[in-house]
């Protein structure tokens, strides 16, 4: 549960006063809280942990990490949602 997965911000909006957004992880999209990365913009990459963006990341490193996580087979596991 402790890995941070990089993804690309696709959409940003407010929900109940909190900055939220849609983030794409190599094809899997999820709603993510963006409150802790106030300067992030659509198209930027970020590291996401348990539904929260914790830091920005450049595109090249993000793509490399994603490829690796997919190979390790941990992408699905980290992103699995409520049943």
């Amino acid at each position: 549960m402790c890995l941070g997965i990089p993804g690309q911000v696709k959409e940003i909006y407010e929900s109940g006063g909190v900055r939220m957004g849609i983030v794409d992880f190599a094809g899997i999209t999820k709603e993510i809280c963006l409150a802790y990365v106030p300067e992030i913009m659509v198209g930027d990459y970020t590291i996401v942990h348990v539904g929260f963006a914790i830091t920005q990341l450049d595109e090249d490193s993000a793509q490399e990490s994603l490829r690796l996580f997919a190979e390790m087979g941990v992408l699905e596991e980290e992103l699995r949602a409520a049943e």
Binding site: M1, C2, L3, G4, G16, G17, V18, K30, C33, A35, Y36, V37, P38, I47, H49, V50, G51, F52, I54, T55, L57, D58, S61, E64, S65, R67, L68, M72, V74, E77, L79, R80, A81, A82, E83
Partner: protein
């Protein structure tokens, strides 16, 4: 060398290994604090490809592993109450309590749910106003901002049926405890990258100075880990003790200030028991008094917990770096990921699970003699 071609850049990996081999003149014991790094090391055989002088000691940085047994038992009691929806990260369901695990509680017909984010639990509380929704808020500094936001949101929404069973742990006090221990063999640390993404690196500066110990902030991918080890060995061989950041693409000195602000609003520092290790002073966070209404321990007043660890499990020694998982007599026999005796066999970040998953049933032949 069969693992080398699994690195995304085998030539670079080879260069890093060569350089490490070239500078190593003596035995060194380096601890990777984070379980994610342990996983990466064992998966890629980094420990086996390094010169035999370099021993990697696996640290206590697996939140699932160190959550105290008493709290797991409390979770089991709360989750068994009829009106409760108990929410947790998936890894926690198989963690053995004194008599069973959350998975068992669920199969007994109780409402135990895996959520991806603590905000999912807040949503469940909104959608189920007549039920008590309890979230198992565990983790290191990386996870804490998410749990803090969930409490903040629940308060903003005026939710009276949401609470959190909090067991947050902090890395710098754990490093201090390891260094203060008379049995300590660790000479340098790889610090956990994403913990530092949130908290910055400044909290490690006093540790480096006080204990004259090299600390290198390191990422999780095999090449990141290797680079962290290279920089650590260089420092050790030169007799230096510095704080270095080998993960600058995601970490700076200050860390994530909005997250730190939220953490300071919601949590305060407290002593915390670590499973298998014991109480470490000032090593955790609990909810501030202003948020006690959201504290599941207050709301459910679970008393008279009698905890009992498996007599066979040596996870405490594994977590303190005194024993490698495959030196535990139960490893791979009585204890497997399907039948875990200890929490370190459950989570993929647990050292025992990593050793099992990647077939480490015996030690490397030229391995150093362990104390």
């Amino acid at each position: 060398m069969k693992y080398l071609d699994e690195f995304r850049n085998p030539e670079l990996a080879q260069r890093l290994f060569d350089e490490i081999r070239g500078v190593t003149t003596r035995p060194w014991a380096i601890m990777e604090v984070c379980g994610g790094q342990t996983h990466s090391i064992i998966r890629n055989g980094i420990d086996q490809l390094l010169p035999a002088e370099i021993e990697l000691i696996h640290g206590p940085g697996c939140p699932v592993c160190v959550t105290p047994l008493e709290l797991i038992d409390k979770a089991l009691v709360i989750a068994s109450q009829p009106n409760v929806i108990f929410c947790s990260f998936g890894d926690m369901l198989r963690v053995p309590g004194s008599s069973k695990d959350l998975f068992r509680v669920k199969s007994e017909g109780n409402d135990v749910r895996i959520v991806y984010s603590p905000l999912d639990a807040v949503k469940l509380a909104q959608a189920n106003p007549t039920r008590e929704v309890v979230f198992f808020g565990i983790g290191f500094e990386t996870t804490a901002p998410a749990n803090a936001m969930a409490v903040h949101q629940a308060q903003q929404l005026g939710l009276r049926n949401f609470s959190m069973l909090v067991s947050h742990v902090l890395v710098p006090p754990a490093i201090t405890a390891i260094l203060e221990s008379p049995a300590n063999r660790v000479q340098a640390f790889l610090a956990a990258g994403h913990v530092c993404s949130v908290m910055g690196t400044w909290a490690y500066e006093p540790l480096v100075e006080r204990y004259r110990v090299p600390i290198v902030v390191t990422g999780f991918e095999p090449l990141d880990v290797l680079e962290g080890i290279r920089r650590t060995v260089l420092q050790l061989e030169r007799g230096e003790a510095q704080l270095e950041n080998a993960y600058t693409r995601a970490v700076n000195r200050a860390g994530n200030l909005p997250a730190q602000q939220m953490l300071a609003d919601i949590f305060e520092v407290t002593d915390r028991g670590w499973r298998g290790i014991g109480v470490i002073p000032n090593s955790g966070w609990r909810l501030r008094a202003a948020y006690r209404d959201f504290d599941a321990e207050t709301r459910f007043a679970v008393q008279n917990i009698h905890t009992e660890e498996s007599a066979l499990c040596h996870s405490g020694e594994v977590l303190r770096g005194l024993l490698k998982p495959n030196q535990c007599p139960a490893f791979g026999k009585a204890c497997t990921p399907r039948t875990p005796l200890g929490a370190t066999m459950v989570s993929s970040e647990g050292a025992c699970a990593a050793y099992y998953q990647y077939g480490r049933f015996v030690q490397r032949e030229d391995s150093a003699v362990y104390a």
